[in-house]
Amino acid sequence: MLFLHTTVSKADISQFIEENYNSSYVEASVSDTGHSTFDPYEAVNRKMFAFNQAVDNAILKPVAKVYRDIVPEGGRESIRNFLRNLESPTILLNDILQGEEERATNTVNRFVINSSVGFFGFGDPATDMGYQRHTEDFAQTLAIYGVDSGPYIVSPFFGPSTPRHIAGRIVDFAVHPLTWYLQNQNEGYRYTYGISEAVVAREELLDVLDDIETNSTDYYVSIRNMYMQRRTNEISNGVPTDELSEFSIDTARDLNLVF
């Protein structure tokens, strides 16, 4: 009855649990994993996730922090805009493949405006003119054509993924005009582009990932869940899907008995 008082301390809770519940006590009657993401390679994925985290902590995160410290927000935003503008050909191709005429027109307008008025894409006047940025990639196109995502996979260096997403990344890379252009250039340019993308993306996620890590009981599962939810949202072009809305207190077998 100790717990009827809401101001019990952390030590009280731990002590109460230790005294009253054996540490090997598990909810024996529940046999399956109870989570919805298809992750049959979880054991391997967790190892790969730990490897990626080690690389991130040793290299990428410190570099992203230094980048944040030395480049002011305005400068970082310009660099983000520039790199995003370079993604336009990929987005346009996939807009077209998905039959999204309006979004394709939007992408062309954004590219033309930002590359000219926006000084090679460093500025983003297109957004102020009402042409909102959106993303598309070949994996999303595959999803639209009905290709299943497959199991959740943590790929080395690239992180959360699925076979569909990996295939999409390869196609996006192969058809991007910059890939062909950089092939004939100095090796340094190729690496600079790839590294810049990684550092800029990591800097943008510095606070978000720190928050998730601090506030989650299982960082791996948090990232997996967020990745799956975000991808679903991107595929549906930001429109909430009915998949989640089917989950209800009244209809979920595991919940309706406790209310």
Partner: protein, 207 residues
């Protein structure tokens, strides 16, 4: 003849039941939108305020969350199929930890957000539908606007709780549902650990 009248009566009754149920759903939905618009307005008043300090904003948002969310239901959803296994003597402390966890999540988010004095946020909630089978759950969909441009979609999952009050039990922002994310975390953890162990872990993290 009698059989036909009976058939007619049954059809009429069925139609009446369907009509009444739909009408109730619509009426509750209207109330749900009013409720959520009030919550959204209060949230935006705090976030957009140029007079409040960051700490005051955090404190007011926390109060708003406590007033309008049902942590008990959220906590049970997060436990998923394990909800029935929650020991009675741990229910209250578990719900309290869920409250602390969600409040801290908002605190941390605000701590990291850079001040954008010239930016104004708005939330436009424009559609609602009932969910489940008992006319007590609703999904209200809308958009978060930043300086009149669409920033992200927002979806509120609302319930009429046992005290007949509208309460928020989930927020899906840009496609990521907070409650369902935690459900995934907790049920994954509970597949090889116990609820007391989970509570112990939560208390070490959030108490």
């Amino acid at each position: 003849m009698l059989r036909n009248i009976n058939k007619y009566l049954i059809h009429s009754l069925l139609l009446l039941v369907i009509f009444v149920s739909t009408a109730n759903g619509r009426e509750y939905c209207d109330e749900a939108i009013v409720f959520i618009n009030d919550v959204a307005d209060e949230t935006l008043d705090i976030i957009n305020s140029s007079e409040l300090t960051k700490n005051q904003k955090k404190s007011y948002l926390s109060e708003l969350l406590i007033k309008n969310a049902d942590f008990e239901i959220m906590g049970k959803i997060m436990l998923g199929k394990y909800a029935r296994k929650l020991p009675d003597d741990l229910k209250e402390v578990y719900t309290d930890l869920i409250k602390k966890m969600l409040t801290k999540t908002i605190y941390d988010r605000l701590d990291n957000d850079e001040e954008e004095p010239d930016v104004t946020y708005a939330i436009v909630n424009d559609s609602c539908r009932t969910k489940g089978s008992k006319d007590r759950e609703f999904l209200v969909d809308g958009d978060v606007l930043k300086d009149d441009s669409r920033l992200a979609s927002i979806r509120w999952w609302i319930i009429i709780n046992k005290d007949q009050q509208y309460k928020v039990i989930d927020l899906t922002l840009a496609g990521v549902s907070l409650t369902l994310q935690k459900k995934d975390e907790f049920t994954s953890y509970l597949s090889n650990k116990s609820i007391p162990q989970l509570i112990s872990k939560l208390s070490k993290k959030f108490d």
